[in-house]
Symmetry: C2
Amino acid sequence: MNTARITPPRRGRPGYDLESLLAVAVKVFNERGYEATSMEDLSRRLGITKSAIYYHVSSKDELLRLAVDRALNGLFEAADAAAAMEGRAIDRLEHLVRSSVHVLVERLPFVTLLLRVRGNTAVERRALARRREFDRLVSDLVEQAEAEGDVRPDVDPAVTSRLVFGLVNSLIEWYRPRGGMGADALADAVCKIAFDGLRQDRPT
Amino acid sequence: MNTARITPPRRGRPGYDLESLLAVAVKVFNERGYEATSMEDLSRRLGITKSAIYYHVSSKDELLRLAVDRALNGLFEAADAAAAMEGRAIDRLEHLVRSSVHVLVERLPFVTLLLRVRGNTAVERRALARRREFDRLVSDLVEQAEAEGDVRPDVDPAVTSRLVFGLVNSLIEWYRPRGGMGADALADAVCKIAFDGLRQDRPT
């Protein structure tokens, strides 16, 4: 073993910046639940004092806001990119589903936290409102694609969009980036099932 | 207003049997999280003493076990019924998806609680083990249906079954029986999207 490896000097011990502090906080929130986690718990887990945490954020609420915004901003960027595309709504929809899978894979702990928010605080209610806004964008796309004849008309567009994003969101329950399939393969699988279904030969 | 309406006599006040006690407990667990709910909280919400609760169950853990078993037993009955069917695996799979949607609608609070179990206690770990067993049954069915040429071979059967049941399970996030669509219509929508996809015309 090479003990001579040089580690860069770090201020303080263990030395968190906002980013690494947020990562640990989100991990703890996901494990124990946001409600059930106190600043005391966070300070113990981080191995730093509560005032060291307050150096970075004013409250547990602010940690939550930063975390869920990380997820929401990713999803809204994906929606903006889809909206800016030319062509048929079904292609924009497929693009949005695909890039949402990427957001989910890249920001898994943040999206996991977002999807568990229940609306008990102002920060949570704001997150739920933004989620509803995103859902409306998806539902509008489905409706437009249906009007263009590309989406089956025998399921309500609101229900279709909920089912499809239910499928996307359910990835947080089992997908683990390490050792699992890559984001591209996962997005392919999601799009195949959501757009064309699992059935191989269907009577038309 | 008719104040002369006769209400049936009730023992005690408010008078819970195990069934109604369980219903309230599950509601509180779903609102606040199982971990964060104490027997004290339950006793306050029920408006009865803790010893009145202990008359019915020995612990909070037992309430959880009874509740998640309500969900799991429903799902395993559905799996048994599907397994007993004659014919192709894809039809058994569709039957299982359809009846799982029914279990979910009829036992929504119990399934919701089950799907949020994290594995912190023996009861939770047992619930997770039974969920994995159910997932294996689904995955076996998908594999069999693929071997019979009825399921698209370009997605791994384990991934396909996770996506389909992810879609089913995501119903707990938005479906509300009251005022919403009925269980049959919901099961139809789920099966259409999962088996044939949302796309209307596809090039083959």
